[in-house]
Symmetry: C2
Subunit: 442 residues, 2 copies
């Protein structure tokens, strides 16, 4: 077994960085600032994406796909957008390599210079609104509620796995409406969906807020956000929803014929959450021994570890373990039976603790003789011995309890670490005294 | 209603191009050679992806995500790979834009030139095998069965929506194995999954084959493929599966400690299907009036069109229509109730025919009085009048029949248009006589 993680207390940031790598969630790559999302980490993201996707579809949104490469000139169409997005980004200038005539390898073919450079999308408002011009003629075409799952590149100087990477994955919603009210309603409806998802699905309670002028999305009239409270008392931005007014409609000349048969500029919202959410999830719940994952997002909700080395024992233990696995699977529980004989049980226990598997089921020959098995829950580390008969019902109920407990713990932590500030003096003294999150009125 | 499509007979290629646009599947974009996949087209791709993803997971594969940008030098590590993939691709040379000091807009910041250029992935073998080196130490880490859903850029000069675009979407599997046999088995197992998926899910029967030397994937020992027969008698490559031998393991120095405790190079496969499959689906089944979609992939499997303009009629018709919608939905059928009063029924009929909705249900006041409704199927254009009571069961059964009929038609077409050639003389005369697909032995 590898050495222990740094503790949160001695080195919160080091604890996070090591945990992500050791729990097999992600790693740095040969591409500066970009990460490889490993299967265990990707499974968490995939589960989040699917849940959000279902929520978007249930509220009338449809998915589409727009180009990765955006003509450079598009970025300067909307005045505020330039400063924010036309700066640190990946620029495609050529479309061909050639063998190096003077040595090994390949070089950029100087004759393949593009007439106009492309930028890898740092966000897609420009290319999407350029397309919406074709899609929208009259009020009958509205509202238009589109979502895209995509990769994004913003050239970051200082990166951290999941929290800030040059390339990241996200979903970006882009909607078009007849009126200001409808666009604003949509902006806030999505903020509610994000907050609800974060709390119910990730067990990460959030504070909804509006960004001050200098932190707004470049091109937004208003930017709303959800912020989650991390264990070091700091807030982490977990999702944003922008009311764009008519800015992009004006920049890309998108008008519609109104019910009064008059051309009007279209109103807009855009919103997104990114792979950063995986980082928020890790930071919110985990402890010095590793990840703590809510059952909703855990790649394996239950792991079964069989004990016993003697051949005679092994077969009957495996038979019993496989039967439980099957019963859990039939209940729709994501369960893994780890019958690898190359690893000792102690190694497995530590590994699954590090990886945050919510429930561990251990079954050995002596337990089996008594018709019993051992259950350990990751969140509280409590162990108990239960009857094999009906164990699947016990485990299913336990998973619900764990989900509830992880949420309650996060809610309690937030309550203990946030304070209401009604005026500037209170605000200053709270920050000075506690260093924790403060609800304030902008 | 817009004018009719070109017929397949007079202009097969023009028919396809117009159909894709008019049926709202995709359109050209401001980014040269890249398409926008519209919601209706994206829904088809999404359904395909989810079905394949389930099949991959059921056979032990896991998803992960690797960087979009590949260091230029990686492409020249594997000798054959250079010629195929280091040539026509998008090259990122700079990481910043700046405001144009001499005018409007933005320009590339000359001071932000990258030390080493990046290429947008034209395929991911290089970056993935560079990562696999970290993941594989011993035979215990094998097999490694990884899949990625991603966007790909290959700079194409002549593009066609879905069939060949500069950017496209795909899934790419990358697997690592102890032995040559296992890697080859995986290569062929995936080929079977692709063929089975194409036939059962898309109703597109395929011919499995192996590519001649000059058409192999650059870096493969052998490339296997599935080819679908289109209505013009031409074959369309619909998926490929590559046996890579130890080529990438050698290029990226990926070895494992064998069961005999000796370092050995790892064996590999890679395989993928792309958004081109949507093109194959369209070409295989559709007719001069528009799309024909198998129910499995149809975004709407059933559309309900209510008739009757009088207010008194309208309400009771809508109530009945909504009840049927609800009953169909409960059966897991994707159903749309089109109660838009701005469009006439005739317009709707033509539109849903163009978009290939498998079943149309029409309900009007006179039908309702008799407890009847009208059903029209897209594949055969047959109409029938059935009782409202139990209509949901009738429709569910009809969807199965339609699926079966579309497949049978494609099988019959293939049987009538392919011939067995056992020698070169037969082969030549068959090609000359018929211009159709020929099974040949390589």
């Amino acid at each position: 077994m590898a050495e222990k993680l740094p503790t949160r207390k001695e080195n919160y940031s080091g604890w996070y960085n090591e945990l992500v790598v050791r729990a097999d969630l992600a790693q740095h790559s040969a591409t500066k600032g970009s990460m490889v999302i490993k299967p265990y980490g990707f499974s968490i993201w995939e589960t989040m994406q699917r849940e959000l996707d279902d929520k978007f579809k249930a509220t009338g949104h449809v998915n589409a796909y727009f180009p990765l490469l955006i003509p450079k000139s598009f970025l300067s169409r909307e005045a505020d957008h330039i400063d924010g997005f036309a700066m640190e980004c990946a620029v495609v200038t050529h479309h061909r390599l050639q063998k190096n005539p003077e040595g090994d390898g390949v070089i950029v073919d100087p004759s393949a210079k593009l007439e106009e450079e492309y930028v890898i999308r740092p966000t897609s408002e420009t290319i999407i609104w350029n397309t919406f011009r074709d899609w929208i003629q009259s009020y009958r075409d509205l509202p238009l509620l589109v979502n895209q799952r995509a990769n994004i590149v913003r050239w970051e100087m200082r990166t951290r796995l999941f929290l800030r990477t040059t390339e990241f994955l996200w979903q970006e919603g882009h909607t078009a409406h007849e009126t200001k009210e409808e666009a604003l309603d949509e902006t806030l409806k999505i903020l509610d969906i994000y907050a609800d998802f974060s709390e119910k699905f990730l067990c990460v309670p959030v504070i909804k807020g509006i960004k001050p002028e200098h932190e707004k999305f470049p091109g937004a009239v208003d930017t709303y956000c959800i912020e989650a409270l991390m264990q070091d008392g700091k807030g982490l931005q977990a999702g944003t929803s922008h009311f764009l007014g008519q800015k992009f409609a004006k920049a890309f000349d998108v008008t519609y014929l109104s019910r009064e048969n008059k051309p009007e500029y279209v109103w807009a919202s855009s919103w997104g959450v990114t792979t950063r959410l995986v980082g928020a999830l890790i930071m919110a719940h985990s402890d010095d021994d590793g990840l703590i994952l809510p059952p909703t997002v855990a790649p394996h909700q239950v792991v079964i570890v069989p004990l016993g080395n003697k051949p005679a024992d092994r077969e009957r233990v495996l038979t019993a373990a496989d039967k439980i696995r099957q019963l859990l699977k039939e209940k729709g529980i994501r369960v893994k039976l780890d019958d690898d004989t190359n690893r000792r049980p102690g190694w497995k226990f530590a590994q699954y603790e590090l990886q945050g598997v919510p429930v561990r089921v251990v079954i050995g020959p002596r337990d089996l003789d008594k018709g019993m098995l051992e259950i350990a829950r990751r969140d509280t580390k409590e162990k108990s011995s239960i009857e094999i008969e009906g164990a699947e019902n016990h485990v299913a109920k336990l998973l619900e309890e764990i989900q509830q407990n992880i949420l309650q713990k996060a809610l309690d932590f937030r309550a203990a670490n946030t304070h209401q500030a009604d005026n500037w003096e209170d605000f200053k003294s709270l920050i000075a005294d506690t260093g924790v999150a403060v609800y304030a009125h902008w």
